[in-house]
Structure formats: C-alpha cells, structure tokens
Symmetry: C2
Subunit: 363 residues, 2 copies
DNA sequence: CTGAAAGCGCTTACAG
DNA sequence: CTGAAAGCGCTTACAG
C-alpha cells in the first residue's frame, strides 16, 4: 500500500495530491531542498538528491504546473489563433497536417498547443493580448499572413515571443518561417517550359493572402524571363472556384497547354473538369500544383506538385518558436535579444514530378 | 497614462503584472473583496462591486489562471492524445475538421484544447496519468476506439472526466459519443437496393478500428435482410488500398454494380480506378462513401455519402465533455455522479444522395 | 551544503 | 456587508 501515509483530507472527495512537502517529510529535509533536487540544481549533496528522487518516484509525485507558473516558470504552452470558420478549416488538408507537425515537436518538449477559433482579426489580436496578459502561453504562432497585416504591429507591441508563418516580407520585425514561393514558382515554371510549354496558366486562390500576390508576381516574371506567356486566372476560394476557372481557360480561344493550381484541392477539381471535357492529362494539358498531399499522389494521373510538406512545415515552425521562447527567457537586454531572434527562415520547396506533367506533348 | 501607478520592478525586465492587490489598494478594500466582486459572488455591496469592476477594467487586470488553478479552480483545458504518426493525421480530412469543431465549442467557454502525439497506447495511457496527476487538464477526449481497448479500463480507474469518441459498446462505463454506424449502413444499403442493385461491395478500411467491424456486420446483415448479396473487400489503410481493392472487385467474374467505401479519400481513389477502366459512374457502377467532405461534394460525379460532418461531430463531443466536467465538479457522491454521466450519445447520420448513385441503371 | 522565510496571485473559511 | 489570515504548491534569495 503506497497510499498508507496519505491522510484523509477534509471533505473526503478527491485524494490529496502529493507535494514536495510530503517528499521533504519522508526524506527528513526541507521543501526547498526537494525543489533543488528535482530540478537538478546545485545545493544538495548527491546522496541527498538520490534519496529525494527515489522518494519522489515512490510517491508518484507530479510537479504542479500551476504552482510553477506562479513563480515565473514557463507555462509550457504555445498558442495559435484561427480567424476562419471551423468548416473552412476542416476542408483544408494543410491545416490538419500543419497542426500535426507542430504537435509532434511541441510534445517532445512537453509543450502543449492551444488553439482558438475567432470571428475577426480584432478578436484575434484581443486573444493574443489576453493570452499573454494572463500568462496562458509562452509564445504564439501567427498564420494566414496578409499584406499590411494589423496583427504584426499588435504583436510587435506586445513584445512577446511570436512566430509568423509566411513571408518573406510583411512580418515587420517579427521572426518568420516561410516556404519560398518565388523558388517554388521558378521550379514549376522552369519544369513546364522545359517540357516545351509556351502558354501556361496559373489558377490562383484567394487574393487576400500574401502568398497569392507573391506567386502571381513570380509567375509572370519567370514566364517572361523564359519567353513564355503566363496567363493569370483568379479562382477565389477552393474547389468550386478552381473548377470554374478551369472551364474559363478552356473556353478561351488560345487555351494554355499547362495549368498550375494553387492547392491540391484546386488541382483535383480542375482535373475533373478537364476529364469531363475529354481533355487528356498530360497529353493535352499538363497539370501541376503548389501543394502536395496524399490525394495529389494517389490521383490518376498523379499530380506534379511542390513538396512543401505541411507536416514538415509545422515541425520547423515549432522548433523555431521554441528557440524564440528560449531566447526570450534568457534575454540580457530586452531589445538586443529581440532583434537577434527576429530572423526569418525559409523552407526550401522541392518539385515532385509526376504523371500529370511527365512526357507532355506541349504546344 | 494608465501605467503611471505601476512602479518599476526589481530587475526592470518585464513589467510587473497588475493583481487584485492593486485593485484593492485603489478601491480602498481588501483583496478578498475584489475576489468576491470579480467572481460575481455575494459578499460585497453593489456599489462596491461596481467600483471594483471599473478599476479592474481601467487597470487592464487579467486574472492569473495559474493562481486560480492552485486554489482548485478548473484549469480550463481539455486534452486529446493521438497515437498515430503526424503524417497519417495530416492525410486525413476527418482529423482537421473534428479538431476545428472541438475548438469552436471549447473556445466559447474559454477552454483550450491540448493535444499530444505519442508512439504507443502505453504512452497514451501514461500521458493521461500525468495530465490528470499534474492537473493539466480538466478532462480528455479519447479517439480511435478499438475492440477491448486497454485505454478504457485505464481511464475508468483514473476516475476523471473522459469522453470516448466511438461506439456503441467497448467503452465500458465511460461516456461516449458516436455516429451510429449501423444506421448509416442501413441508409446506404437501403438506398442502393432501392435503386435496384443486387450485388453490392463494401471496401473496408483498417480492421483494427472498432467501427470497421461494426460496419462489416451491419452491412452483411442488411444485405441479407433485403435479399441482396454483400461482398466484403478489405482495403487496409487509405487511398492506395482502396484503389487496389477496387481493381480486385473489377477482376471478379461476378463484379458488383455498386461499391460503398469507408471514407471519402477511399471513394475518390476507387473512382479514379473505375474511370481508368472506362467504367461510368453511376451508369455502370454506383459509388457511395461513409464519409462526406468537400472533395466528395465537388468530385464529378459528386459522391453520395453519409453526412456525418466531422465538424459537427467535434462540436457535439466538446459540448458533451464540458457537461461531464461540469457534473464532475459538483458531484455529491463520487460514484453516483460518475454513473449518471456515463451515458452515450449518438449522432444521427444522414444520407446525402448525389450523382454517383442517382439514376443508376443497376443490375 | 542545508534551513527558515517570503512570495507568486488568487480563494476560502472565519471573525467581526 | 467587510477585514485579516491561512493556504494552494512551488521557487528564490538569504542566512547559517
């Protein structure tokens, strides 16, 4: 009976939890000594430390995060706010994979991820304020970067660990992690031009997000550099828009011989339209996507895509944020350290060539 | 300058946070009075309460969750452990949507969701132990219910708020929320038989999960009841398996005229195989899925599916878990209340008929 | 290397 | 209706 020593608490409801005082009692030392021992800090002899650790294990002691947080220790949580409806999130393969990647790394450091869904950008900023004000999180990840994003100055002002997902640019002095869309675009266009395509379309998602504009520019620039014609086709959000955009392209008198879609979902929707219209992929139309996924991989024909693994993206983001939090804790001078952590990190995109473009008989 | 009164703390690092003591000072009352006031408890006059609230707002006071937790208040967090690799999670549309639904409801109650990815069932159980031991969470959601799941007795023994996602059955005395797969199966089979199909295949996912076996049984039973022939085809996990299974079915001498897939991802992969083989949907083969999604909706032809919205599922689960946590806090006698909360709740599935089965010329 | 004390921010009885 | 005190579980100086 390991519980023999636990006296019945008043109220007799839940069992009283074991604390460092219990351990100290047993070990015949003071609670302070236990604290030093279990935290691996100097101040107790090796023998005492060993004895204390044994007792702690024996009593099944678990440190109280609340008590620790109260004395200024990290709360071991990072936050992420999403200003989009749950329905939209659910439809996006990227979200689940990104979160999974974040979790994977955070878990190993015993950090938890806290998420909140809000209605507006104002509510998002207010959430950051409250989270940091209450010391609910040690840092935050900010997603869906927009142009002239009001969240950036708000987070700068808070002066707390925050990592922007997206860029480069528009993230002010905040550290950021992003996939280099310019490089990704170059990879895609070069590949298609190399196959002989001279008229290439880009079916673009919501213009609101920063990367959309960035891809637009890089796409047009690169096409021009290579002497090809770039056709921009706005599609708005999701599969519906992509299908309509594809139909629009087919209706043109001078239709392209290759289409690059902004996401796997859009590429699949577009491919369906092509199939319906009796257009063979890749023989009559090459198809590529900025986003890879299991669906892109198993589709027939499999879709050529940029291998920005959302899972990997999440892992890199989590690693980076933990670094920032760590730097923040040991910062000697607030501003110097802050500046040092404000660096960006790019994730290199890779082109994964598959059947949807391979061997295309372009032009 | 609302900060005029804040004295510079030692160390001059972070600004000292404002506490109820600051408010008490200003209001000329004691900290206890402030506590009563801000928590809406009796014990202070209306006038005093109003004055205190004003000052709290003025000083931008935020309660410290750590301090509150230390005195026994709920920590406002629920946990979910996932014993699957991040990659697998990322590929599954269900995960992101379910989490989004959970979040949506939890956020409104100021609860946060804590997730952890682990390697094994043992690690999962250990995580529950630590979470509750440390009072890191007020309750947990358990997903991926299996037959004779060792997590069920482990959670029963912990005696803390826990909700099982899945069932019915195999969740012991724990409360559960599940989609009635038997009903879903009936809806699907009845629909197909009603269209004239007499030989119907079911392409099933991983046998490990509880619902797979449940669907198998319900499928065979219902086919028999209606005088149709049910063909079971195991596919293992994901799109790859579904494609192979579909090819297997086509190769049979007596191929079915309709296929029901376990997920949207599998249905899409299977449909691709059908298209490749020149088989028209729904004219030559009807296709249906146990799982709806944006992809199933926008696919051409759109896939008939069971409308268990994963988002909605998440919402129901969160609501239920919050009820359980609440009941647990006010429980008069540990066991009586525990029993009262141990009820299950089914989410009614709906059949959404789309082009992939409509107007099929069966048999 | 060890002990005694004060404090983190809040809540909860218990007196007045 | 209000005040003073003790306590939640831990950590951090500061003496010995």
């Amino acid at each position: 009976m390991s519980t023999s020593r636990v006296s019945t608490p008043r109220g007799a409801g839940r069992p009283r939890r074991v604390t460092i005082a219990d351990i100290a009692d047993r070990a015949g030392v003071t609670a302070a000594a236990v604290s030093l021992a279990v935290n691996g800090r100097p101040g107790v002899s090796d023998a005492t430390r060993a004895r204390i650790m044994d007792i702690a294990r024996e009593l099944d002691w678990e440190p109280s995060p609340a008590a620790r947080a109260l004395t200024g220790a990290p709360v071991l949580a990072v936050g992420m706010v999403l200003a989009r409806p749950a329905e939209v999130l659910g439809n996006e393969a990227f979200f689940g994979a990104f979160v999974a990647g974040l979790q994977e790394v955070l878990s190993t450091e015993d950090y938890s991820l806290q998420m909140k869904i809000v209605e507006s950008t104002e509510a998002e900023i207010e959430t950051y304020r409250r989270w940091f004000g209450q010391r609910r999180v040690d840092g935050v990840v900010m997603v869906d970067l927009r142009q002239d994003d009001p969240r950036v100055p708000a987070l700068e002002k808070l002066g707390q660990p925050a990592l922007v997902i997206g860029g480069p640019g528009h993230h002010g002095s905040l550290p950021a992690v992003y996939v280099d869309d310019a490089v990704a675009t170059t990879l895609l266009v070069d590949h298609l031009v190399g196959l002989g395509h001279r008229r290439i379309a880009r079916v673009a998602g919501t213009a609101e997000f920063f990367h959309t504009a960035q891809r637009d520019r890089a796409f047009l620039d690169r096409c021009e550099e290579l002497g090809a014609t770039g056709v921009l086709q706005d599609a708005g959000y999701g599969a519906q828009g992509a299908a309509a955009a594809t139909e629009g392209l087919l209706a043109e008198e001078d239709a392209p011989s290759a289409i690059i879609f902004d996401s796997d979902e859009m590429a699949l929707a577009g491919s369906q339209v092509l199939l319906e219209n009796g257009i063979r992929i890749p023989q009559q139309m090459a198809v590529a996507s900025y986003e890879d996924s299991a669906l892109a991989r198993t589709h027939r024909p499999a879709i050529t895509a940029i291998g920005r693994s959302a899972v990997q993206y999440g892992r890199v983001a989590a690693t980076r944020l933990l670094e920032i939090i760590d730097a923040d804790r040991r910062r000697p001078l607030p501003d110097a350290a802050q500046a040092a952590t404000g660096e960006v990190r790019a994730i290199d995109p890779q082109l994964i060539v598959r059947a949807s473009t391979a061997g295309a008989d372009a032009g």
